[in-house]
């Protein structure tokens, strides 16, 4: 069957889109293998792992291993908090309570407010209260203004599909509220929580604007990289970009594998009758 003209137009558009999406990342990936005497731009002056080894050395500017450790720790803090608070929030919103609608809009509004304003506001409040601005306090808080609404929206979708009969059955069989949650609700929503966790971690790990004015004297990784772009003049910057991208991909793959494993065990539960 002959393809219509619109197919080729749309296919070309899609190809451009993909190129635009991944082109820059691929360019940085390629340039990070620049030879020892190569510069920040093409042409490649040989191919080597020189800049990756250079990453391990003490740098004149930039402390990216420290920044990486901070980002990793912050990402984990945000992830755990997002999962716990989203689940609790999702459970709370299952029943109608006074002010539920207002609260919901308040939560969602924080997604609409420009990130940089949130950052500015949090920094300002800390200043006024004479608290020290630090990535683990003000930075942590302003990242949560971003991840919590997302987490909550995911939990809404999850609990919308959740059959209340499971909880009634558990109550009928003598489970108290906590037991019902522990033995029935939590295991059933666990696969979805992987998604919330992944969201929380990656949103935090590459968060920039909200952290910009709230991280204090110690930078997170995206801030550090941004700072280095103005000071560092060697392809070591690209090597760093490649390493962090690969790290992000590994994190995502890890989550996907975990989710797959959990789904497989769910599949085992839902395979047809075995004869």
């Amino acid at each position: 069957m002959a393809r219509s003209a619109s197919f080729y137009v749309l296919a070309a558009f899609f190809a451009c889109f993909v190129l635009f999406l991944y082109g820059p990342v691929i360019t940085i990936g390629i340039l990070s293998f620049q030879g020892p005497r190569g510069g920040l731009t093409f042409p490649m002056n040989g191919v080597s792992l020189h800049w990756f080894f250079d990453l391990l050395e003490e740098q004149a500017v930039g402390d990216f291993w420290g920044a990486f450790r901070r980002s990793l720790l912050l990402g984990c803090m945000v992830m755990v908090t997002t999962v716990v608070v989203s689940v609790m929030g999702g459970l709370a919103f299952r029943r109608r309570f006074a002010g539920a609608t207002v609260l919901f809009y308040l939560v969602i509004a924080s997604l609409v407010i420009p990130s940089i304003l949130v950052s500015l506001g949090v920094g300002l409040v800390f200043n006024v209260l004479d608290w020290e601005v630090h990535w683990s306090t003000s930075g942590f808080g302003s990242q949560l203004t971003w991840t919590l609404p997302f987490g909550l929206l995911i939990m809404f979708a999850v609990f919308n599909r959740f059959d209340r009969a499971y909880e009634e059955a558990a109550r009928d069989l003598g489970a108290n509220r906590w037991q019902t949650f522990q033995f029935v609700v939590l295991p059933l929503i666990a696969p979805s929580l992987i998604g919330v966790a992944l969201f929380g971690f990656t949103l935090s790990y590459d968060e920039f604007a909200r952290t910009l004015l709230t991280s204090g004297s110690y930078n997170t990784l995206p801030l550090e990289i941004f700072g280095m772009t103005t000071n560092v003049t060697t392809p070591v910057l690209y090597a760093l970009g490649t390493v962090t991208t690969v790290f992000s991909l590994l994190i995502i793959v890890m989550f996907l594998v975990t989710a797959r494993l959990m789904r497989r065990s769910a599949d085992r539960h839902s395979r047809g009758p075995v004869s």
């Binding site: 558990a170 009928d172 108290n176 839902s270 075995v274």
Partner: protein
């Protein structure tokens, strides 16, 4: 023997905009199989959920085995419920599903596995203990749900449309298994259904509900043969409701006959004929009246004098088969 029984006293349930259950009085004997029958929205499920403790009671009392359980939590009432789609926990094995109630009570694993396996034997699922619910057929799932509810040793088992998730063939088979199990266990069953066949086949006591009220509560035989109201007669099916001597009467379709050319009966015109195998349904329209009448004839009887649509007929019945209805 009949000392422990379930009693509902003037039970009402109001939701924000409507009264779902309106002054229900009902007594079920111990060891009886009771079916609550009615069209959807008649309040039967709400009533069952109130007995189970999953729905609060607006007013009235629920008494089980001599104690008032109206406001007790679901697990402390001596009731157990089997949910419509069984609500088996998909992440737990069959054994863990059945042993769930024991686990909640803090029983040791070995002990609750032993009891769960024992209960599974009783419903002939001993070989399936390690399977997961989704690996079982609908009928097997239903028996797991039954075992899971029965392990709490309830005084009353409440079943919410337990057969509606099954295909029609299986439904009839599982229905008789259910009745057999109830007889073996000797537990009082209260079963909610919208299917007349199901209620008549299973129940010692049929409770017909409509509009939040009980229309009739009696044996299956009496509900079928002595429907109290026009609603019951029509809902239970197989009846004709006509005006005879200025009274509304119901007559079973299979107790009516057709005599023609004799004119000693009610004159009507055949509007449809439906062959059903052993019997033939002759639908007719009364002359000068809006009532339609269905006559169920044996196939031999029908084919001796076959009728055609549009033919005039004369409907007959014996006087004792005409059952007067409450106005």
């Amino acid at each position: 023997m009949k000392n422990r029984h379930l009693e509902l006293i003037d039970v009402c349930k109001s939701f924000a905009d409507a009264r779902a259950v309106d002054g229900v009085n009902l007594a079920v004997e111990e060891g009886a199989y009771a079916c609550i029958l009615g069209p959807s929205g008649c309040g039967k499920s709400t009533l069952l959920r109130m007995i189970a403790g999953h729905e609060s009671v607006t007013s009235g009392d629920i008494v089980l085995a001599g104690s008032n359980i109206t406001s007790l939590s679901p697990s402390r009432r001596g009731t157990a419920m089997m949910f419509q789609d069984y609500a088996l926990f998909p992440h737990l094995s069959v054994r863990d599903n059945v042993g769930f109630a024991l686990r909640m009570r803090g029983q040791k694993e070995a002990e609750r596995h032993r009891k769960a396996d024992e209960m599974l034997e009783r419903v002939q699922l001993g070989d399936y203990a390690n399977r997961f619910p989704a690996q079982l057929s609908g009928g097997q799932q239903q028996r797991v749900a039954l075992a899971r509810a029965m392990i709490t040793e309830p005084q009353v088992l409440l079943l919410d449309e337990p057969l509606s998730a099954l295909d029609p063939f299986l439904r009839v088979q599982i229905r008789s298994e259910l009745r057999q199990l109830q007889r073996d266990l000797g537990t009082t069953f209260v079963h909610v259904t919208h299917s007349q066949d199901e209620a008549l086949a299973l129940a010692d006591q049929v409770v017909v509900m409509n509009g939040g009220e009980i229309q009739q509560s009696s044996t299956a035989f009496d509900v079928f043969n002595k429907p109290r109201s026009e609603f019951v007669a029509r809902f239970i099916g197989g009846h004709n409701v006509i005006t005879h001597d200025d009274k509304r009467v119901s007559i079973r379709a299979d107790r009516m006959g057709i005599s023609w050319p004799s004119r000693d009966g009610l004159m009507a015109t055949v509007v449809d004929i439906e062959f059903q195998g052993a019997t033939v349904l002759v639908k007719s329209q009364l002359n000068g009246d809006s009532d339609a009448v269905v006559v169920r004839l044996g196939d031999t009887q029908f084919f001796e004098h076959p009728l055609k649509v549009g033919e005039p007929v004369c409907l007959t019945w014996r006087e004792e088969d005409a059952h007067a209805l409450a106005a």
